[in-house]
Amino acid sequence: MEFTRLSGDWVMMRTIEVFLVIIIITTAFIISSFFAVLPQPRQVSPLNLRRLALTTLQTLDGDYDLSGTAFKPQDDTAWSNLQIALSACLPPNIVYNLTVYEVLSGGTQLYTFIHSVSNAESLGVSSDASSYLVASSNVTFSVVPEKIGEHGGGGTLYILNCSDANGWWITGYTGQSLAEDLYNLLSPYFKTTIMLQNTTQLARILDGTSIQGETLRNATVINTVGEAVPIPSAYCISPYSDGNYARYCHFLGNMTRLYNWTWVSIVGYPVYYVSNIEYFPNDDNTYGIYGMKCVGPAGFNAFLKGLDNQAYYYDSGEITGQPGLVHLSTEALYYCNYYGIYPASHQTSTRALPLSITSDYSLTIEFQMFNLVGNWIAGAVFRHAVSGSFLALGLTRTPDIRLTALGLLSYYRPRLYRSEYTAAGTSRLVVLQLGQVGGV
């Protein structure tokens, strides 16, 4: 009897336990639901306000208007225009606060407040900001280039500015005007720049004598008279006159090798003519330019043989081709930006060199200015396996000496040291904070 009663007391125990479990799980669900708050739709799919702010600032400064306004806190018209522009370019549900700070140098404080504009009292529950540094238009940023030859041998630039030599395929220019432009473009990058004023001075360096104590070895020699090359009177005789002066071109190749020069041909077929006004007063290049003699393709063939230390023999076979439209290589485009030299990226080549010269004369392409068209190289710096190199731009006339400068700088790659950007009073920080209003 007692057992039965006891059993009757516990008869619904399981059900009670289950309800207790349900209460516990319900409590757990409520508690977990309380903490597991789902984000608002705006947070689930947010507009990237930081990027929007940055791109807005960049757009407004596309023509440096934002920079100008940032330095004119008292100019109400400029700030009013800036506010109109901000309102016009941001979506209607975006509010903003734009603040300008002065950037300080030294001391403990980095920034001080200058001016602020906003179109709302608060930026809502979520906001983000981007900052943008602007520079005063009064600031001049200087760039100091590294000198070629500063950390090694060489560093001399010879520009053939020979008044007693005529040019060909430099139509519209004279050798002298090109020499002057090249001097302005390139002299900041070389340790020493010497304008060889006549063929007598050219003869001196060919003889191994410096003009003003400069380093002769590892120099760069730019021939400014196009397809012609100046020839000193002392070399207008035998044996240099062999093969219609092809032998002289062989000698030039030899000297390039001997002194490890970089010989530069700015346009057309290299060393196609030799020029000396006094020695060839009655000879013309067959196109009416007097003071020069036509060597023809034999000149460059001889030059290459001289560079490769091959014995001279007369070879008048033409080696250049006409690929036509050529494009600057990606590497050349990069250096356009680096050195701030912007020739047209498309050029016409009618005197491109064949790729086969690299194997025929032990050359390697050190810097390729133009993309290859077939097996034609419209412009490149070639380096000989032992010593000496040359830059040949096989483009059609008239020459663009910016390409010459670009080719040489891309070959030597002198670094540019730019001045300090955050000079006191010259930079201001613009912070644009954006917030979203409306919706959830």
């Binding site: 059993s7 009757g8 008869v11 619904m12 125990m13 399981r14 059900t15 336990e17 289950v18 309800f19 479990v21 349900i22 799980i25 319900t26 669900f29 977990s32 639901s33 597991a36 789902l38 984000p39 947070q43 689930v44 799919s45 947010p46 507009l47 990237n48 990027r51 929007l52 791109t55 807005t56 960049q58 757009t59 407004l60 400064d61 596309g62 023509d63 440096y64 208007d65 934002l66 306004t69 400029a78 009013s80 225009n81 800036l82 506010q83 109109i84 522009a85 901000l86 309102s87 016009a88 370019c89 941001l90 979506p91 209607p92 494009h327 990606t330 485009l333 990226s345 498309h346």
Partner: protein, 413 residues
């Protein structure tokens, strides 16, 4: 004993019921959280993808200037950094804004970037455009995400004729929903001034500046120097306007395209790389029957300098006539220079008293054309969007990307 059994049965059933209920409840919460997470990652992907498109020029760098198929997709102008887009790469995107156009004379389909909007046409051969599928593959989202990229000018410059004698134009400059007050307006007006002996029209141009009022409106009246009347199509004109305020630049245009009794002219780009353009005699839904007369034209290509001065670039064979029916000259082929952005102005006339003009941009941005590229987001379960302010040339544009998932949860499409 019976009571205990009932107790067990009841408790078991209640317990199982409760467990099922709670599994459902927890599962719903977890599913919602996963879905939210999924949508959140979609938003992040959208932002990344947009930057991928806008911050790299693609490969090769000049794919926008040639008709090659790029091996890398990007819209950045290769000559600049940051968010500055190439006017040419944008032009090569196969437009999904308007219906594709078929021209029976060439047997080709054309991408319809602009079909006569404000007298402006930009029709490129589809075979030379980059289509959505190619772009998706190059971006690595083929089969996983769908997208639509919209590049719209930030400022809208609308031109409306409010008076014909003399010509009076109302110009409205708008931001996204707000009129732009106090905006400086520079404009170029090209207008016909009669006919050459050969029959083709001559035109002149002038430039001037003004400012919008507080409602974002400006009025231009041509009552003197030049005096222009456009009643009965006596004169045709093309006006290009550049608005700027506070560093924000916008551009707009209007060309007085008229349907003369001999039809009109529609420019089709024949070869993107070579810049050949077909000036087609009136073509479209109202195909000419061949009985109307010839239409004389004069086409001129302009490049705009930094200070908004038009530079006339010579194009050979830029004048002549087209006649769809009788003389077997349904179109005339010209070649424009492709190196720089510019616009082609085509003036045409049937007689000395009936003129029309159309304009064709070369490069997005020269006259403020929009681009819509990609799939259609309509009907997709969850579409995220992101936007950036970009520059095309010096004109402010907004690049908006709509992105949706083609996989995963609750995709309807």
């Amino acid at each position: 004993m019976t009571g205990s059994t009932i107790d067990h049965l009841v408790s078991l059933m209640v317990f199982l019921g409760a467990i099922l209920l709670f599994i459902g409840l927890f599962n719903q919460t977890i599913q919602t959280a996963i879905l939210y997470q999924h949508h959140r990652s979609l938003a992040t992907k959208c932002s990344d993808l947009l930057d991928n498109m806008l911050l790299n020029p693609g490969n090769p760098l000049d794919w926008g200037k040639s008709n090659c198929t790029p091996t890398g997709f990007g819209l950045q102008d290769p000559e600049f950094t940051q968010y500055r887009l190439s006017p040419f790469s944008l032009m090569r995107l196969l437009s999904s804004a308007g219906n594709r156009v078929y021209y029976s004379q060439t047997g080709k389909w054309y991408s319809n970037v602009s079909w006569g909007i404000g007298g402006g046409y930009l029709l490129l051969p589809e075979s030379e455009c980059i289509n959505y599928s190619t772009a998706s593959k190059l971006l690595g989202v083929n089969g996983t995400y769908g997208f639509q990229l919209t590049i719209n000018p930030t400022l809208t410059v609308n031109v409306r004729e409010v008076q014909l004698i003399p010509l009076r134009l109302e110009v409205q400059v708008m931001g996204p929903g707000v009129p732009l007050s106090g905006a400086n307006l520079d404009y170029l007006l090209f207008w016909t001034i009669g006919r050459e002996e050969g029959g083709w029209p001559l035109f002149n141009y002038t430039s001037c500046s003004t400012q919008t009022n507080s409602a974002g409106l400006a009025y231009l009246e041509f009552s003197d120097n030049p005096y222009i009347r456009v009643d009965d199509n006596k004169t045709a004109y093309t006006i290009i306007l550049k608005a700027h305020v506070g560093g924000l630049y916008g551009i707009g245009y209007k060309s007085r395209e008229t349907i003369t009794s001999a039809g009109n002219i529609i420019p089709f780009v024949e070869s993107y790389e070579n810049g050949t353009v077909l000036l087609a005699h009136k073509w479209g839904k109202n195909d000419p029957d061949g009985n109307q007369g010839a239409l004389f034209f004069n086409a001129t290509f302009y490049v705009l300098s930094d200070n908004f001065v038009p530079i006339n670039v010579y194009i050979p064979n830029s004048t002549g006539l087209v006649n769809y029916g009788k003389e077997g000259k349904p179109f005339h082929r010209i070649q424009i220079p492709t190196a720089n952005p510019g616009f082609l102005v085509v003036a045409y006339c049937k007689s000395a008293n009936e003129y029309g003009m159309v304009v064709m941009p070369w490069g997005i941005g020269t006259i403020g054309i929009s681009v819509v590229f990609g799939g259609d987001p309509f009907g997709k379960e969850w579409v995220v969007t992101d936007m950036r302010q970009v520059l095309v040339g010096d004109i402010a544009y907004q690049a908006k990307l709509a992105l949706w998932s083609l996989q995963g949860y609750q995709v309807i499409g």
